[in-house]
């Protein structure tokens, strides 16, 4: 449990670093996706309880993992997927218009 936290922090930092420094729009989207996955990972990590079983109670169990973050994670995944779809649609649109994926180039072309 404790070991997951550095991974989450590193993933979030990596993703935001990519968003800040990359010029290619697809890479920016990948960076954002990395950050979002890190959040989902965090949701999974905090639901973990040692020796807990999955929250499907076909018989009584002693320790069950926390079901609420998992449900939240499901919601968050769907929302992230929707946002990513819109981003990709915008990138396709921009690419068709400028024939480039470089975000600085696009700003220059527009003038």
């Amino acid at each position: 449990m404790i070991l997951v936290f550095p991974a989450i922090a590193i993933l979030i930092s990596m993703g935001i670093y990519a968003v800040l420094t990359q010029k290619n729009m697809i890479r920016i989207i990948i960076g954002i996706s990395i950050v979002e996955s890190a959040i989902i990972l965090l949701l999974g990590a905090i639901s973990y309880i040692p020796d807990g079983v999955a929250p499907i109670l076909d018989q009584p169990y002693d320790t069950v993992v926390d079901p609420l973050p998992q449900a939240l994670g499901l919601t968050a995944v769907v929302i992230n997927a929707s946002t990513t779809a819109i981003m990709l649609a915008l990138v396709i649109k921009l690419y068709n218009r400028y024939q480039t994926l470089d975000i600085h180039e696009i700003r220059k072309l527009r003038g």
């Binding site: 959040i39 965090l42 905090i46 939240l72 919601t75 929302i79 915008l90």
Partner: protein
């Protein structure tokens, strides 16, 4: 009584059935949208008029006991946004009737999604539910920014989308951390459990909330999307963005800060002071940047950033008078900015462009609209008989009362700065060179009644509010009770 949930359900029903209607016959789109917005407005006014008897109001979704599931709360602080919503929903729909020509069904779908998101964000008392509505609002905003399909709007939409998504991640992170620390997502139950955390942790949490929501209400280093996004979009989005969306994000941030963390914590740890300085900086930066613009929409965008600075200053004073003044300015600025955008849209019909140098001499062509426009600009500056003066005076009074002299001085300085650039626009419109060829083409553009009505109505509201500010202050004077005192808010569900 199911009234508050209806405020979310009616636009939602419209959203889902618009596709059905558009599939069979396009005739029914406009009546449907109009009816639903009329119904929403009626509900809001019902709450406004019956505020003493019906509020505070809580509604437990799913009939669960309050601490298990999601609750919806309407209290006196919510009325601040309700007041703006009550005016804006109907007027924006009226204005968009002629402005939108292609893809009407999709546009009204997005508009109604926006209403759903705003209503949900304002009323919900559950943090994750707030995040969901936050995303609903954001997604429809991104889409409306990209709606016009111009080069700049697509690019601005991408920029907005990037910043917005990263900020949403921070918001979600903050919400998850809050859940980790407290074991609940219910905003009513969190405050007592959050108090045990170390101070530094709470400060970082506040920082995450601030980054997450700050992008959306365009606090200065995070504001870069706003001026771009304002240029190539439908006027309706401009109006809704500056009157409702930005205000709502700030509104919820204040609720999170004051209810979850408490006034004492904020004041002990200098957070209110930081916000105050930040607000001043934001205001001055907005005014200074607005000076250099030659596109009207961009200028108004920077002006919105500056005006949010006033609101931030007022709210971070931490006194009841400050809250009332800030709320007053929030509503009032929404009304004024909305009206300015409506009028600017009308002027655009004649000028054909939002560039200031192309708007010279428009007063001859459209005398009435120009008069309204000038009145509104003067009100934004804060010239006495108009409502802008009232709100700025209230903020100034609250600041001086709380003992902050420097912010008071800055507010006056900011007003003078804004007078500078607004005057140049006025002079431009009234005395600029008259281009005869443009005039003849402009005369052909007759304004329809639904384009004049919103601007005129809002201007009337603006003048009335300037003469009798007590109408609005009477509406929101109990807001501080539910913002500054945590117990009042908590008792809505748990105790009383």
């Amino acid at each position: 009584m199911h009234l508050p949930i209806l405020l979310i359900l009616i636009p939602l029903f419209t959203v889902f059935s618009l596709g059905l209607f558009a599939f069979f016959s396009k005739k029914y789109i406009i009546p449907l949208v109009f009816t639903s917005s009329l119904a929403s407005t009626a509900i809001i006014f019902y709450f406004i008029f019956n505020r003493e008897t019906r509020l505070p109001f809580s509604y437990n979704l799913g009939s669960w006991q309050p601490d298990l599931a999601i609750n919806i709360l309407v209290d006196h602080y919510t009325l601040v946004i309700f007041a703006a919503m009550g005016l804006m929903i109907l007027l924006s729909v009226i204005y968009s009737l002629t402005e939108i020509t292609r893809n009407k069904a999709k546009f009204y779908l997005l508009l109604n999604v926006l209403f759903v998101g705003i209503a949900g964000m304002v009323m919900t008392a559950d943090l994750f539910n707030f995040y969901v509505f936050f995303e609903i609002t954001s997604i429809s905003s991104y889409a409306l920014v990209a709606y016009n399909d111009k080069d700049i709007s697509l690019e601005a939409a991408f920029k907005y989308l990037m910043l917005g998504t990263v900020s949403a991640v921070f918001l979600l992170l903050a919400i998850i951390l809050t859940y980790m620390a407290t074991g609940t997502l219910n905003m009513v139950l969190i405050p007592e459990r959050l108090g045990n955390l170390p101070v530094l942790t709470r400060q970082i949490l506040i920082a995450f909330y601030l980054i997450g929501l700050g992008v959306k209400f365009a606090i200065v280093p995070l504001h870069t999307w706003l001026p771009d996004a304002y240029v190539g979009v439908p006027i309706t989005y401009n109006v809704l963005s500056s009157a409702l969306i930005i205000k709502t994000q700030f509104f919820v941030l204040m609720r999170i800060l004051y209810i979850l963390f408490g006034l004492n914590f904020l004041q002990d740890n200098m957070i209110t002071t930081i916000l105050l300085v930040w607000g001043i900086f934001s205001m001055l930066f907005g005014h200074a940047a607005a000076f250099q613009q030659n596109n009207l929409k961009r200028l108004l965008g920077y002006s919105t950033i500056a005006q949010m600075g006033y609101v931030i200053i007022a709210f971070s004073l931490g006194t009841p008078a400050g809250i009332v003044a800030g709320s007053f300015h929030m509503v009032n600025h929404g009304i004024m900015k909305g009206a300015v955008f409506f009028a600017a849209g009308n002027l655009h019909k004649a000028a054909g462009s939002y560039q200031l140098n192309k708007m010279q001499g428009l007063a001859d062509i459209m005398p009435k609209t120009s008069l309204i426009f000038v009145l509104l600009l003067l009100s934004m500056v804060g010239i006495p008989p108009l409502s802008g003066f009232a709100s700025k005076w209230l903020i100034l009074e609250a600041a001086l009362e709380a003992g902050y002299l420097l912010p008071g001085f800055m507010i006056i300085l900011g007003s003078f700065l804004s007078l500078g650039y607004y005057l140049s626009i006025i002079i431009n419109i009234y005395t600029g060179e008259k281009d005869l060829s443009k005039k003849s083409s402009a005369r052909a553009v007759g304004l329809k009644i639904n384009e004049i009505l919103p601007a005129a109505a809002l201007t009337a509201v603006c003048i009335i509010l300037g003469l009798y500010p007590a109408i609005l202050t009477g509406l929101i004077d109990r807001a501080p009770e539910f913002l500054l005192e945590q117990l009042n808010y908590i008792n809505i569900i748990i105790g009383g």
